[in-house]
Symmetry: C2
Subunit: 243 residues, 2 copies
């Protein structure tokens, strides 16, 4: 039987989500914990990996086991064993055709940032800081050009082995949230570092280095070198996976 | 000549704002740094102290020196010396009748919190967690009873030596901000632990332990024991001082 798991984590101490040799990852912590709780080895399948340092407010995974679980007890026991920067919020039985990765139709990421003369220490815990000022209206204008289906090769870190770099951005906008700005981006899928490269390119727009309407040219070029720098992992959160 | 200073800090590593013997405080760090930058002893007067663990997004202070400063250089030099959890954003000359504490007409505090079955680690860095669920509508109804001028003795930690415990709450409300709730409270002044006791009392309302309209009775009783527990310092931020 298959169980769906909803988790959250602060990724700042981890080498990303996915199990890899000799690295402290979120997946390996959860698999180790669930194996102890359930008494059998567990392989976790996530909606997608998050990079080193990236956090999740709501990440979705699944795993298969032979015997039914007392889910309420499993959650409590697992949370008592897990490091405090990883929490399990829900475990529920799902049909065997649910797949955390392949059934996902969209994901929403948030990127929190702020700007000014100097860091604001309490915001610096959760958001990226850009020294100076940013033209948020221009950045919001630039957002519009990302919407729709495009080949996002220019917004993908080199070394990615995916077959197609065509993705659809369903929604993207920047809002002011108290003393922070928040980029909210929803797409049917994201390439390696894609949200961080979009964010870095939007920072260039905010600084007047590139114009909002040049985004289309950059997308069409397929040239990673024409997009902005990869923004820091701090500030990026997987908000929700939609099924 | 008198200089106004705008600072921000993450209070979580400090024993509060105010200088006290054998304690690591925000005031002592800034005074030590400014003395080094200016070459003369500096006494900082703040709009008010914040308690141990409480942070500030925008705190206002003043200090007096005999000779004019290069404020831009002073900010840069001071920030290079200060611990990273304290930042100076502005230093500007003001008239000698400006007083960081006595000229302040109001202050706004924010209290961020969230609730659920388990903590969300990335929110836990900045907000207080309440296990279970809270009735936010009831809490907002209760907020209305705090508005106006009242004797807030029931919402003041014991040991406070102030002459009058009459304060005016100008505005108070709870909003949803992404995955968090935010209490925003503006008053002409606040007693020792007052915001945290109001928040603790609102948590009791949210859990159905007390009704919103009992707030008036609690205020009128002047009895600290009838109000709720003092909510944790984590989650509380001095947002702005109004002059």
């Amino acid at each position: 039987m298959r169980y769906k798991v909803i988790i959250s984590y602060d990724g700042s101490s981890y080498s990303g989500f996915q199990v890899q040799p000799n690295a402290y990852t979120i997946q390996s912590e959860i698999e180790k914990t669930l194996a102890q709780v359930l008494g059998v080895p567990v392989t976790l399948v996530a909606s997608g990996r998050t990079d080193a340092g990236v956090s999740a407010i709501e990440q979705v995974c699944h795993f298969d086991v032979d015997n039914p679980l007392d889910t309420r007890r499993a959650i409590g026991y697992a949370n008592s064993l897990l490091p405090r920067d990883i929490r399990i919020h829900q475990i529920e039985e799902v049909s065997s055709d649910f797949h955390a990765r392949y059934s996902a139709v969209a994901k929403t990421y948030l990127y929190y940032f702020y700007c000014g003369r100097a860091e604001i220490p309490v915001l610096d815990k959760v958001a990226a800081f850009e020294q100076g000022s940013l033209d948020i209206d221009s950045m919001n204008s630039a957002c519009q050009y990302f919407k729709g289906e495009h080949d996002f090769s220019a917004f993908c870190a080199s070394g990615s082995q995916v077959e197609s770099k065509v993705r659809t951005i369903i929604d993207i906008r920047i809002d002011k949230i108290d003393n922070l700005f928040r980029l909210e981006i929803t797409g049917n899928g994201f390439l390696y570092n894609m949200v961080r490269i979009i964010m870095g390119t939007l920072f260039d727009v905010g600084r007047g280095k590139i114009s909002p309407d040049s985004i289309t040219d950059i997308i069409n070029s397929g040239d990673r070198a024409r997009a902005g720098k990869t923004a820091s992992a701090k500030g990026l959160y997987l908000k929700k996976v939609l099924y």
